[in-house]
Amino acid sequence: MARYILKRILTAIPMVLLITVLCFALMHFAPYDAIDAMTTPKMSQETINLIKAKYGYDQPVYVQYVRWLDGIMNGNFGYSIVTKQSIAADLAVRLPNTVKLVLPAFITAYILAVVLGLIAGANKNKKADKIIDAVSSVGIAVPSFWFAMLLIFVLGYKLKLLPIVGMHAVGKESSIADFLKHFIMPFLTLTVSFMPANIKFVRSSTLTQFSEDYVLVQRAFGATKSEIMFKHVCKNVLLPVITRLGMALPLLVTGAIITETVFSWPGVGPYFIKAIQGMDYPIVMIILVLSSTLVILGNLLSDILYCLIDPRIKEMG
């Protein structure tokens, strides 16, 4: 098994490198460069050349790439073109904020999805199943920004129960009550947006398991419904569900872009969106690399988890 894991890790490394090349190349070939974002109509060509030289844009592409990659390796993510801030320092502030929001929401959504999915799957075509299935279908179709605006409108504007903007009221950084007040609406939005797809997944997985022969055998032996459910079906259902956890890793960075933007949550989302609008290429590239690297790591994690949990694969390796 150790060999299998090692093999998987080794194949992941060139993938990550390929991604950095891709991100860099795509950004490089975009029709407008970062210089366009920095210069103003009033600047003379000399000043523009000066700025180009200052940021190293006068160098050949491969030199730019190697310098950039070298920077990333050493934790120097470069500087924002617009605000001149160190990207590493910015992300150090913003990533925890995003994690603080996404992680609880994801865990909640996940637990609820497993419970509801199992209930629906176990009661195929009964009322409970129909309701859960219908609600999750609607949930998949509801865009998160719309649901967020709805919450803002009802809870923030009409009822004035909760603050609309940000993570803290000004000067109340240490108040947990204040944080929770700001937290409720984005948390609800994210939970609602993560849940439906997972419910569908658990439900269909449960349905498949119930149609397996071993369930029929158990029934023939006179096992009760709950015995079949918790002793046998559950385990088999949770297997793919747990491996899905790994895939959720990139969510920690990019899982709440829209929700964060709507609620002005000071996480990665607004930072990323603003960078795209302002053509702040260094930031866009770093976040692209970061999230796609997490996708690869997530897959790796899934594979490893699967390998650890499922004895069949363990023997294969």
Partner: protein
């Protein structure tokens, strides 16, 4: 039991969804229903956070201004040039003087003497100004700042205003409170070129080599009305008042720039009272019920001119261009795009209407379909077809484009609209061989009319009309050298006429910026609304 729970949960979820659907339909017009919510809240049940924060700080007044982007923690006088960064600078630092459409407003300088040869400008500085750390402000700080701005490697935003191919502006300290700036050549726009440059403290920045990133940017020491007290990345910047501000201590204790990037959220936040001020668009303001939300709108002129340029490289026939312009109704376009005549001024030439050089004594091309048809006949073009490019994501331009299309079709033109990405559009416009006949754009240039030459001289960087008019170039050159005010006015009136006569440039409207402010805030007129910074002097704002 389990079933029962499921049922309840299901019903609850369904209820939420249905309720959601219902309220969303009403949600399109929050203002219409806003009345009860707002008056209900004053009873005290649900206090907004802004109010809560205010009381918790022991009666300190706070003015919260919603801004759409993060200024960052590294704002500095030399390299910061984005709107929110400059707004932050304006709070912390002071310039020698501000130069806006209505003239000079002195801050750290008291007066300017111009030498007889129009090359040297002697600035007399205030001697009663202290930095927020207690040090005295002197001429050394001014010299230090200007010299840093002139250093090529610093890539300062005002570099091109101070360093020319003829040489750099020379800056000398005459005594502790007098500095002399000498231009390398006579330039009537010099006073404007020295304006809006904030002065930084020499004793703080003396050993700094990289202005963009260093340890002192985050703890700024300034001469402005406020001191930056807190910066929370992506959330807000908080300023507390500078009791020693040289124009008198500010009335409001704290000013907060709250970062809200989503327009709809910002719009809800201003209506719920979570923020006190915000910049909106005419369409957004029209959706709000200002009275019930206790808000006032202050439209103010930034000197922006939105235009339609005709590409003379493609539409070479002057009669055809005139036929196009006579078919257009400027006011109808502006009314459709900006909804109310309070929100715009109509420019008749390339100068913004609030400029003292602006003249109406030009060919205005007021709509006249008969004339349009005459010119069309004279041009000899049968069934003219045109295409118009504009930024598809810009709602003002999209509306204007539809109007232009409709008006031109009435005059017998067939117009194809190309709504494209704004960056792609400007890239296309820079290409002389682009495939568009007409395009929309807009600019905010300087106060001095010479700053507009880069748009209209032959081959100038922003002349997207690609015409060749040596006469206009000659006039701009004359205007630059002329120092007599009346003669300059004559020259620029002439230029405005000439440019209108080319029938390549059609000024559409000069749209104002709409500041939406809570009625609890007063002193807006005294603080003066200016381009970029919003308030010229925030110390004059008051809060009830």
């Amino acid at each position: 039991m389990k079933k029962n729970f499921m049922k309840r949960a299901g019903i609850l979820l369904a209820a939420v969804m249905v309720l959601g659907g219902l309220t969303a339909c009403g949600g399109k017009d929050p203002a219409a229903e806003g009345t009860t919510a707002v008056s209900g809240s004053s009873a005290g049940a649900g206090e907004t956070t802004a109010e809560a924060a205010k009381t918790s700080e022991g009666g300190e007044s706070t003015f919260t201004y919603a801004i759409a982007g993060d200024p960052g923690a590294n704002v500095n006088v030399i390299t910061t040039s984005d709107r929110f960064g400059l707004m932050t600078l304006k709070m912390i630092y002071s310039p020698l003087y501000m130069y806006n459409a209505d003239g000079i407003n002195y801050f750290l300088a008291k007066s300017i003497d111009t030498s007889d040869d129009n090359l040297s400008y002697t600035m007399h500085l205030r001697d009663d100004v202290k930095w927020s750390d207690g040090e005295k402000f002197t001429a050394d700080d001014v010299v230090f700042t200007f010299e840093a701005m002139e250093k090529e490697e610093n890539a300062g935003w005002a570099y091109s205003q101070l360093v020319y191919k003829e040489g750099a502006v020379k800056i000398e300290k005459v005594d502790d409170y007098t500095v002399k700036l000498t231009m390398p050549f006579v330039n009537s726009a010099a006073v404007e070129m020295f304006s809006q440059i904030f002065i930084m403290p020499k004793h703080v920045y003396e050993n700094v080599t990289n202005f963009e990133n260093n340890d002192v940017n985050t703890k700024p020491v300034g001469t402005g009305p406020y001191v930056m007290s807190e910066y929370s990345a992506g959330s807000y910047v908080k300023f507390t008042k500078n009791e020693n501000y040289f124009l008198g201590a500010p009335s409001i204790d704290n000013i907060v720039y709250r970062i809200i990037e989503n327009e709809n959220t910002a719009m809800t936040a201003i209506q719920s009272g979570e923020v006190d001020a915000w910049i909106g668009t005419p369409a957004q303001v029209a959706q709000m019920n200002l009275d019930s939300a206790n808000l006032t709108v202050y439209p103010y002129q930034e000197g922006r001119v939105a235009y339609m340029m005709i590409n003379a490289a493609r539409v070479q026939n002057e009669d055809l261009r005139k036929a196009i312009l006579y078919a257009l109704d400027k006011k109808a376009i502006a009314d459709a795009a900006l909804l109310s005549s309070d929100y715009y001024d109509l420019p008749w030439s390339f100068m913004p209407p609030n400029s003292k050089f602006f003249t109406e004594d030009v060919e205005k091309y007021e709509q006249n379909l008969d004339k349009s048809k005459e010119y069309l006949a004279a041009s000899g073009v049968q069934k003219p077809e045109l295409n118009l490019a504009y930024s598809g994501s810009d709602s003002l331009q999209s509306t204007s484009a539809l109007l232009v299309q409709e008006q031109l079709e009435k005059a017998g033109f067939k117009v194809t609209l190309s709504g494209i990405d704004s960056k792609a559009l400007s890239q296309q416009m820079k290409d002389k061989n682009n495939t568009y006949d007409m395009y929309f754009g807009g600019y905010i240039m300087g106060i001095d009319p010479d700053t507009f030459s880069s748009l209209f001289e032959t081959g100038a960087a922003y002349n997207y009309m690609y015409y060749d008019q040596p006469e206009i170039n000659e006039l701009f050159a004359q205007g630059r050298k002329e120092t007599d005010e009346t003669k300059r006015k004559e020259i620029y009136t002439n230029i405005q006429k000439k440019i209108q006569d080319t029938a390549c440039f059609y000024p559409l409207y000069s749209n104002k910026r709409l500041l939406v402010v809570s009625k609890n805030v007063s002193g807006i007129d005294a603080a003066k609304l200016v381009p970029v910074y919003t308030f010229e002097d925030t110390s004059k704002l008051q809060k009830k």
